[in-house]
């Protein structure tokens, strides 16, 4: 239930996972920031994050927000991707099988409708299988 303008505006960031890295202190931030959160420098450059990482922590949400009823129980993970962390939904895995440290890979999936009734696509993360592992 975001807006279509928003999705359109940040689709590149959301789908390619564009972070910002500080040229002064090296701190990497996702979501991308206009200035460095660590040292305040405006000298930050965009950097695409890897699409494979591991689960730092996760939760299984049983009480949905309005608009997310069909995605419940909803598994949300905080995923370490290179030097950055990304919050996203975990899919293709049973809630009881998720583990801290689990390897996951990004996959394009539909999200819930925007306030305008459009269905946006976002990156979600699924377990990395051996087969996929050899190709990445």
């Amino acid at each position: 239930m975001t807006t279509i303008q928003r999705i359109w505006r940040i689709k590149n960031i959301l789908l390619r996972l564009i972070s910002t890295r500080c040229l002064e202190c090296g701190f990497i931030a996702y979501p991308p920031k206009a200035s460095c959160p660590k040292c305040g420098s405006r000298k930050v450059v965009e950097e695409e994050l890897p699409k494979v990482g591991e689960v730092l922590t996760y939760t299984v949400i049983n009480v949905p927000l309005k608009g997310f009823e069909e995605f419940t129980p909803l598994i949300i993970g905080l995923i370490k991707l290179g030097d950055a962390k990304v919050l996203a939904e975990l899919v293709d895995v049973k809630p009881e099988d998720v583990r801290i440290g689990m390897k996951v890979v990004a996959t394009l999936r539909r999200s819930t409708k925007t306030l305008d009734g459009v269905i946006p696509y976002v990156l979600k993360f699924k377990p990395l299988t051996l087969k996929l592992n050899t190709t990445t």
Partner: protein
């Protein structure tokens, strides 16, 4: 800097107030506070509120001031997510400390039970990053659950240890006439309650609440309005990213630590001087990381301490004699004002629940998952 005193407080019971409008709820808290200062008219009002937009009402300072017979005074609303009450107290402090106003009313008000729960939960998630977090449907409980699992794993803290916080809070809250949940609970109550956002269960979490609280602030010239003025010895706010992804650390609330350090330094006090504190236990995990970030416990040790009986009435510091967010309730934009009102009553010796002998009190109100934090130091 001019000294600022709290000379009056007023609260409504926290709970479900379907029959009372937001303006009437706020006016009740205001009347109670004005009663304590002989109805002396304030020159300004600060309103703390987060989610009145859910019922299509903004411009709350004008609405509430006018409803309470204060048309024509200075008024503004402040917001810092669930920390809105805290920033309202800070703003009221600034008004008096600046010398521009000498009598200022700070009122926090929130009605979370006006809309169906899924709508309200969605509103509470406006505290997060709408572009990069809300898009995934993560609830506020979910964000805190991410911290809880990380913390339990990193510091090897047991589920049962965290749950004991809720038991302790209900023991305090049962004696507080303003509290929303006035029943004692057991460890089993927590452990057998439904999972909201694993590992957070219903009894790890504060309830959804309606409520309003007010405090009346003055300077040296007007502290005579009370026989027992309480000094605001320190106050500080700090912000962190609303998103969890870019945080420096997941097991410390950076803004909580900064805000507490700055407020203590301003008050020339140490955390060891604090006799009583009201902290922001929206979830049991929030209690743990807040206690550690403020400096009341070492990293990873808070739950161990309270499992050993620390922080209860009789201990120094006593934490949340009100019952905290868990039992008193959490009317978000009002919570930071309730905390200050409660600690003022502790220092005056007239809090009508668990009463702690105290000279120095601390409050900390946390917005988001530690993204907007205000700490206040109060002294008799």
């Amino acid at each position: 800097m001019r000294k600022v005193y709290v000379v009056g407080v007023g609260m409504t019971k926290v709970g479900k107030h379907t029959e009372v409008s937001m303006r009437d709820l706020a006016a009740e808290a205001i009347s109670n506070a004005l009663d304590e200062v002989g109805n002396e008219k304030p020159e300004a009002i600060v309103v703390g509120n987060m989610l009145s937009s859910l019922v299509e009402q903004e411009n709350l300072a004008a609405l509430i001031a006018d409803h309470a017979g204060l048309r024509g005074i200075c008024g503004l609303k402040v917001e810092g997510a669930c920390g809105s009450g805290g920033v309202a107290v800070l703003t009221g402090y600034l008004m008096v400390a600046s010398g521009l106003y000498s009598k200022v009313l700070v009122v926090g008000v929130e009605k979370l039970l006006e809309r169906p729960t899924p709508d309200t939960l969605r509103g509470l998630a406006y505290a997060a990053d709408a572009d990069y977090e809300l898009i995934y449907g993560v609830s506020f409980a979910g964000l805190n659950a991410l911290i809880m699992r990380y913390y339990m794993s990193k510091y090897n803290v047991k589920r049962e240890e965290l749950a004991l916080w809720s038991v302790m809070m209900h023991q305090n809250g049962v004696k507080n006439p303003y509290a929303q949940l006035r029943n004692e609970i057991t460890l089993e109550t927590v452990l057998n309650s439904p999972v909201v956002a694993d590992p957070i269960r219903l009894y790890d979490a504060c309830p959804l609440s309606d409520g309003a609280a007010a405090i009346y602030l003055t300077n040296e010239d007007w502290k005579k309005l009370s026989d027992t003025p309480v000094l605001i010895a320190g106050v500080s706010n700090a912000v962190d990213s609303p998103d969890l992804s870019s945080r420096f650390s997941l097991d410390e609330l950076f803004a909580s630590r900064l805000s507490a350090e700055n407020a203590l330094r301003m008050a020339k006090l140490s955390v060891k001087d604090v006799d009583v504190a009201e902290i922001h236990d929206a979830y049991t995990i929030t209690a743990a990381v807040s206690l550690e970030s403020i400096g009341f416990a070492e990293k990873g040790k808070a739950a161990k301490l309270w499992s050993e009986g620390r922080f209860k009435p009789g201990d120094k510091p006593t934490i949340n004699p009100s019952g905290g967010l868990k039992s008193r309730g959490h009317p978000v934009g009002a919570t930071g004002v309730y905390q200050v009102a409660e600690v003022v009553m502790q220092l005056r010796g007239d809090f009508p629940g668990v009463l702690v002998p105290a000279e120095v009190g601390l409050t900390q109100n946390v917005g988001g998952v530690g993204s907007n934090v205000t700490t206040v130091l109060l002294k008799r």
